[in-house]
């Protein structure tokens, strides 16, 4: 039951990001600027990347358009919030 709930939450977060319904922490924004990562890179990483859950955080591991490894960490807190990108 717990596993099914986690899976549902994961799919909710994934679809919210794909539909552009998310916001960023200032930290995530700065990391994106430093690494030249765009919103589309995040969406593609979340759409095609591997996902796992750690406590309340959702991790997505994939690649950006340049083929570099990209990790997106987010939580669901009223809305989908991206905490960091690296």
């Amino acid at each position: 039951m717990k596993y099914e709930r986690l899976l549902m939450a994961l799919e909710l977060v994934r679809s919210e990001i794909i539909l552009n319904n998310f916001i960023l922490t200032k930290h995530a924004w700065l990391r994106m600027t430093e690494r030249n990562v765009t919103r589309l890179d995040i969406v593609e990483c979340v759409r095609h990347g591997l996902a796992f859950v750690e406590e309340e955080k959702f991790h997505f591991v994939g690649y950006d358009s340049e083929g570099l490894k990209l990790k997106v960490i987010c939580v669901y807190n009223d809305a989908t919030l991206i905490i960091t990108v690296f």
């Binding site: 552009n20 319904n21 998310f22 916001i23 960023l24 922490t25 200032k26 930290h27 924004w29 994106m32 600027t33 430093e34 030249n36 765009t38 919103r39 589309l40 890179d41 995040i42 593609e44 358009s65 340049e66 939580v75 807190n77 009223d78 919030l81 905490i83």
Partner: protein, 143 residues
């Protein structure tokens, strides 16, 4: 009970990774656990930056191409197809982040993006090739 967000405003320099863009008065709020949060959807921020690039006749480098493509929500393949190019060509442009596109490429990318972003630009050749390399920050109003 839901906590009310206390909004404050801050300037974001190097907006969208572009050293000449500053977003003025970006709405922010503090979260007890996750720190400062930007209260603007990322797609909206990218559209603001993309329109500013086109309207201010900023020269288009790899960095700008990547941002414009993201703002238009186009994959490498779809973006490249618009210009009858291979996606590897667009990827090459984007990897050369600080390198300006060749004049013909810059002109067609500018015209395409202006149309997609509904920006009014002159189609006179002499005005199309006249581009600016910003030396002072371009300020964008968030609201």
């Amino acid at each position: 009970m839901k906590m009310k967000k206390k909004i404050y405003y801050e300037n974001l320099e190097n907006f969208c990774g572009l050293e000449y863009l500053t977003l003025q008065d970006a709405p922010m709020y503090k979260h007890s656990k996750y720190g400062e949060i930007i209260d603007l959807p990322p797609h909206e921020m990218e559209l603001l930056a993309a329109k500013t690039i086109i309207q201010n006749k900023v020269s288009i480098r790899g960095k700008e191409v990547k941002l414009l493509r993201s703002a238009l929500d186009l994959s490498l393949e779809k973006f490249a197809r618009e210009f009858d190019l291979a996606s590897s060509t667009v990827l090459k442009w984007e990897r050369a982040a600080n390198e300006r596109l060749s004049l013909p490429n810059e002109v067609v990318v500018r015209l395409f993006c202006a149309e997609k972003l509904a920006c009014q630009i002159s189609t006179q050749y002499s005005e199309l090739i006249e581009v600016v390399t910003p030396t002072t920050p371009i300020l964008i109003k968030a609201a």
